[in-house]
């Protein structure tokens, strides 16, 4: 044998090499069969998703199939109605574009397992930013406006808004003695006039500078209840926050509030009342010079815990 070292090709030379372009265009159709047709008819006519249940292993198949391949039993008569809601068990984001896609990319193709079903099926999910898409997302079917008598009679799935979209405040259990929060606002002449309109208290000591000069304060002052009501945004929106019910608010006025004063209303948890699950809060109202304008207390029913 001649063991002379062989010369290996290290470059690719495609000169004079032809490429024959081909094209496959194969039309096809698909027989849905009795079972598949009933599924589609139900979607089309009743906007109802139906599945088939194997009585042997209790598995519910969606889309329906006439046989359970594990138990190998004919299940074609065991129809069950299914809700339009389900959970995403897997998904992919389609970003490339090709002619046969149902919608324009990017879009989400997901496997959706309907509640009460055991098998997921593929569909499109819309109504959620691509970056927020996740497995485990709860979704609901959105039916197409016009039927095509196909699986696309469900146009897509969209996320279910779970519970309220706002965040409730601190619950009784979440509140601790010593927690405090406040709200600050500058009281203007407009505030006083609006408050006069709301309360009907057009007393000239709030309205008429010339009259006010004759009073001990020597100038117009705000209604006492005006700084007092600044505790409402604290209790209702901050501490405990949204969902709070005020049961009692008492205030003792200590000093006048002049136009242009900046009032800070502060609430502090001072006592938790376990038998009624109420909370007592100490209230203080101070101005920009840190003078005590008013003080008092409130009894509130905090919001329930979020699930």
């Amino acid at each position: 044998m001649d063991h002379k070292k062989r010369e290996y090709t290290m470059t690719i030379d495609t000169k004079d090499c032809f490429t024959i372009e081909g094209k496959l265009a194969l039309p096809y159709q698909y027989f849905a069969g009795r079972t598949g047709s009933r599924f589609i008819t139900s979607l089309r006519d009743n906007k109802k998703i139906m599945g088939l249940e194997c009585k042997h292993c209790n598995k519910v198949f969606v889309p329906p199939r006439s046989t359970c391949e594990v138990c190998f039993e004919d299940i074609s008569e065991n129809w069950v109605d299914l809700p339009n809601t389900g959970i995403v068990t897997g998904f992919t984001i389609v970003r490339y574009e090709e002619p046969h896609q149902p919608v324009k990319p990017p879009y989400i193709t997901a496997l959706v397992k309907l509640d009460k079903a055991d098998t997921p099926f593929a569909h499109i999910v819309k109504g959620i930013p691509l970056s927020k898409m996740k497995t485990g997302l709860r979704v609901e079917a959105v039916f197409a406006k016009r039927t095509t008598a196909t699986i696309m009679d469900i146009d897509h799935f969209r996320p279910i808004k779970e519970g309220p979209s706002f965040k409730l405040g601190y619950s009784y259990d979440a509140l601790e003695v010593g927690m405090s929060d406040s709200f600050t606002k500058t009281i203007s002449e407009t505030d006083v006039y609006l408050f006069a309109g709301i309360s009907g208290d057009f007393n000239p000591m709030h309205m008429n500078e010339e009259f006010a000069k004759t009073t001990p304060m020597g100038t117009r002052i705000a209604h006492g209840a005006l700084p007092q009501c600044l505790i409402a945004p604290v209790l209702g929106m901050k501490l405990p926050g949204l969902g709070t019910i005020a049961l009692e608010v008492t205030t003792r006025f200590k000093a006048p509030t002049y136009f242009g004063d900046t009032i800070t209303a502060t609430g502090e948890v001072v006592e938790k009342l376990p038998e009624r699950r109420w909370v007592r809060m100490a209230l203080t109202f101070t101005n920009q010079k840190n003078e005590l304008v008013a003080e008092g207390s409130a009894l509130v029913l905090p919001p329930p815990s979020m699930p």
């Binding site: 194969l26 027989f31 849905a32 069969g33 079972t35 006439s66 046989t67 391949e69 594990v70």
Partner: protein, 397 residues
């Protein structure tokens, strides 16, 4: 000739067939397959628990479904079992039988279920076949079995009148057989006195190949259960034993006209198979045949090839009614391929029907004599022949 040695005998113990029809809209693919699976299991007195391996086959390109065996698990019962998918195409149905036989004979499995199916109405068969055209490989545009070449050759050789008559006679025999087979797709109820009229009036497809001569496109499934000798004897009073099979094919196109010598893969396969099974007079030693006859021109012409006849012997067999169900050498008591053609199942149906004749389960189209030896042929593109020889007695190993 060098003898082949088989490890152990394999018996066919169950056959199931769906109803064949041009449109099976009421079932999807796994559902249609399930029909035949249930029937085959029933006939074998088995459940899926008895099946070790499922062999699945069709022509993927025809329905445009990728890896159909995975989807079809819903209907095939292959869940959790050994499984194999075969697409020779070629003649897939016949290759499925070869594979199932080998899987059992080898000792790998005791019981194997083979499934051949096609839902031609869901796809575009000719679209799939004509795409085989390739100028570099000298493969010309093809139309599958839709070729008028044989009609021309038979007419050239035997004269127009005799050739056309014989071809129509063959066709009417096939239809009369199909009328006895509830599952056949086309059961036209033809009578012999219609022959001349049909030969003239049936729409021409290619030359003298007319619509009436041509096979159908069908939806359908065939399922067969193969068992080791021990299992077969346990489950079946009269299994059909697989004596031998042979596959012959060659890469070439159909358009070699003129003087080019075309060696028929049919005759080559028959010659080899008969030689190694000591068959010197096939018409005597074989009792009947299920032939893959894509058209009544080919069916007529191929009798000569498969039975290694010379001259006009094949024409005479048709003219004299030998090929009738109660004739001297019945061909296609099932109605054959001109009656039903679910492609991936078609070649398997030939073996299944031959097996049914031996097992005595063919019902209304049972040949009225005892069938001891039966021959089945498969045909596919390009020039692909599979011959299967079945016997009533278990072969000596």
């Amino acid at each position: 000739m060098k003898k082949m040695k088989k490890n152990r005998n394999v018996g066919i113990i169950g056959v199931g067939q769906s109803v064949f029809s041009s449109h099976r809209e009421e079932v999807n693919q796994p559902e249609m397959i399930h029909e035949a699976v249930v029937e085959a299991l029933d006939q074998a007195g088995m459940t899926m628990e008895d099946i070790d391996c499922v062999v699945h086959g069709n022509m993927e390109l025809f329905e445009m479904v990728h890896q159909p065996d995975l989807w079809h698990t819903i209907g095939t019962g292959a869940f959790g079992r050994e499984s194999l998918r075969i697409t020779t195409g070629g003649t897939t149905g016949a290759t499925l039988v070869c594979a199932a036989d080998a899987l059992v004979a080898s000792g790998l499995h005791e019981v194997v279920m083979a499934i051949g199916f096609e839902k031609l109405q869901e796809g575009h068969t000719t679209g799939g076949i004509t795409n085989m055209a390739d100028p570099l490989w000298t493969r010309k545009l093809q139309t599958g079995a839709l070729t008028g070449m044989t009609a021309t050759q038979v007419i050239d050789e035997f004269g127009e009148e005799r050739a056309k008559k014989a071809s129509m006679l063959y066709r009417i025999f096939m239809d009369k057989h199909a009328m006895k087979n509830d599952k056949a797709h086309r059961r036209l109820g033809l009578e012999f006195d219609q022959a001349d009229d049909l030969a003239k009036k049936s729409p021409a497809l290619v030359g003298e190949l007319r619509m009436i001569h041509m096979c159908s496109q069908s939806d359908g499934t065939c399922v067969m259960i193969f068992a080791s000798e021990e299992k077969a004897r346990l489950h079946c009073k009269q299994p059909a034993w697989i004596k031998d099979h042979i596959s012959v094919h060659r890469e070439e196109n159909f358009t070699i006209f003129g003087d080019a010598l075309v060696v028929s893969t049919h005759r080559y396969a028959a010659k080899k198979l008969f030689a190694r099974n000591d068959i010197t007079d096939p018409r005597k030693q074989i009792d009947m045949m299920e032939m893959y006859d894509p058209s009544s021109w080919w069916g007529l012409d191929w009798i000569r090839e498969f039975l290694m006849l010379e001259g006009d012997a094949h024409i005479r067999m048709v003219e004299e009614g030998d090929i009738a169900i109660d004739g001297a050498f019945p061909i296609n008591p099932s109605g054959g391929v001109t009656a039903s053609n679910p492609i991936g199942a078609t070649a398997m149906v030939r073996v299944a029907e031959a097996a049914m004749q031996i097992m005595g389960t063919a019902g209304d189209h049972q040949v009225p004599k005892q069938v001891n030896t039966a021959l089945a042929s498969g045909f596919g593109g390009t020039m692909w022949t599979v011959l299967t020889l079945l016997t009533r007695e278990a072969p000596e190993l």
